[in-house]
Symmetry: C2
Subunit: 228 residues, 2 copies
């Protein structure tokens, strides 16, 4: 499932520590902690049934990942992201999508392509029925599948890491304006087509541009939220 940014080997059963880090990350990504407020160590300790030592180690790791920030002698708080932060994140992610598309084509199996095509059709169905939650779930899974198809664990791990930060925004349910969804579907159509033809150069650029447009849409939405 989820591994540290560069975890490659290691078949060991997840240690208590790593477990805790993952739990905490999910807990934050799923928005159980409001951004900006102070995170009391004590409370989290009893919630996860661990003592302070492993919890503090986990907080340090999540701080290094960028999900939270540590204020000296004042504990941790969930990071709050400005529009510039979001843009920066998306730029890096789009770079990873670029390499993902490029190398996925040369390494992907026919079965994986079929699987992605299947997901694509399913997503299209959800799009037609305006089932947004399912639509975005499939969208995420398709992107992750292409990234994973590149057969590069370092890439997959970094991608997942950056995405966990962005996902916290809950932009997903709100990107319906201006028929962004329709555009996105068309872009996905091209992406799947390039993948089918194993046109790596093309796919890389398509995915890069796709993420750029997604970034623009998200930022436009956020700006609308900021001053309504």
């Amino acid at each position: 499932m989820r591994a540290s940014v560069l975890r490659l080997v290691e078949n060991e059963p997840a240690s208590l520590h790593e477990d805790l880090v993952n739990q905490l990350r999910d807990f934050i990504v799923e928005d159980h902690l409001a951004p900006g407020i102070r995170v009391p160590e004590r409370e989290l300790c009893e919630r996860f049934n661990v003592s302070r030592t492993p919890l503090r180690e986990a907080l340090k790791v999540l701080a290094a990942e960028g999900l939270i920030e540590l204020l000296p002698n004042r504990g941790a708080r969930v990071r709050q992201f400005s529009e510039a932060d979001i843009r920066n994140l998306f730029e890096v992610i789009s770079g990873l999508d670029f390499v993902a598309g490029r190398f996925a084509c040369s390494r992907i199996t026919d079965e994986a392509i079929a699987e992605i095509e299947k997901m694509h059709l399913e997503m299209y169905a959800h799009y037609l029925r305006h089932e947004l939650a399912d639509y975005f779930r499939l969208n995420q899974r398709i992107h992750q599948a292409i990234v994973d198809a590149a057969g590069n664990p370092v890439l997959s791990a970094n991608y997942a890491n950056l995405n966990s930060v962005v996902r916290r925004l809950r932009y997903s349910a709100n990107l319906v304006g201006r028929d962004r969804l329709g555009d996105a579907m068309r872009e996905h159509e091209q992406i799947v087509d390039a993948l089918r033809r194993k046109a790596g150069d093309e796919l890389g650029m398509l995915m890069f541009e796709h993420m750029q447009r997604k970034c623009d849409a998200v930022c436009e939405y956020l700006r609308g939220q900021a001053n309504p």
Copy 2:
């Protein structure tokens, strides 16, 4: 200087913890600990004059960054990288170089371009005189300058992070074979030219391909090392 992967704000004086992480990272990158061997906590404790608690927190963070790996109940050891690992790392880095080149063009100042041209000329001089150490130092600085010119702290931080892992390899002095240096110089020439013309699309691709070739050269060298 060096910040956590996503550190953006924070003007606080570096906390003891972050200090320790940086010290330890440098200590490892500078090859004071042989890869594969166990990292003795005790020894490091007295070397850095801290107790086990902060040291262990630092180890967890570095493990998340991928520099070391933690074996359950068997302590930490410095990661050993296979050729596949190296390729994976370079692929991700080349993706970051791609976005860096693309956005650097639209955001760079004329002064920064002039600065890079200056470094480029200096590097060329070192190349002609076969001053390898200086050559590679300038090479690093030029790449970092282009990445920084993209004006994206998230990108810069991630780039630095991945590079710290690669830098541990100490391949640099050995890439002289087959006139890789000459090829690299020509590629750099094109890169600086594209930057001058602010041709973002072109620069992105140039930097991507440049890193790919560098990866091939490094891997070829490493393969030669492995079975001589």
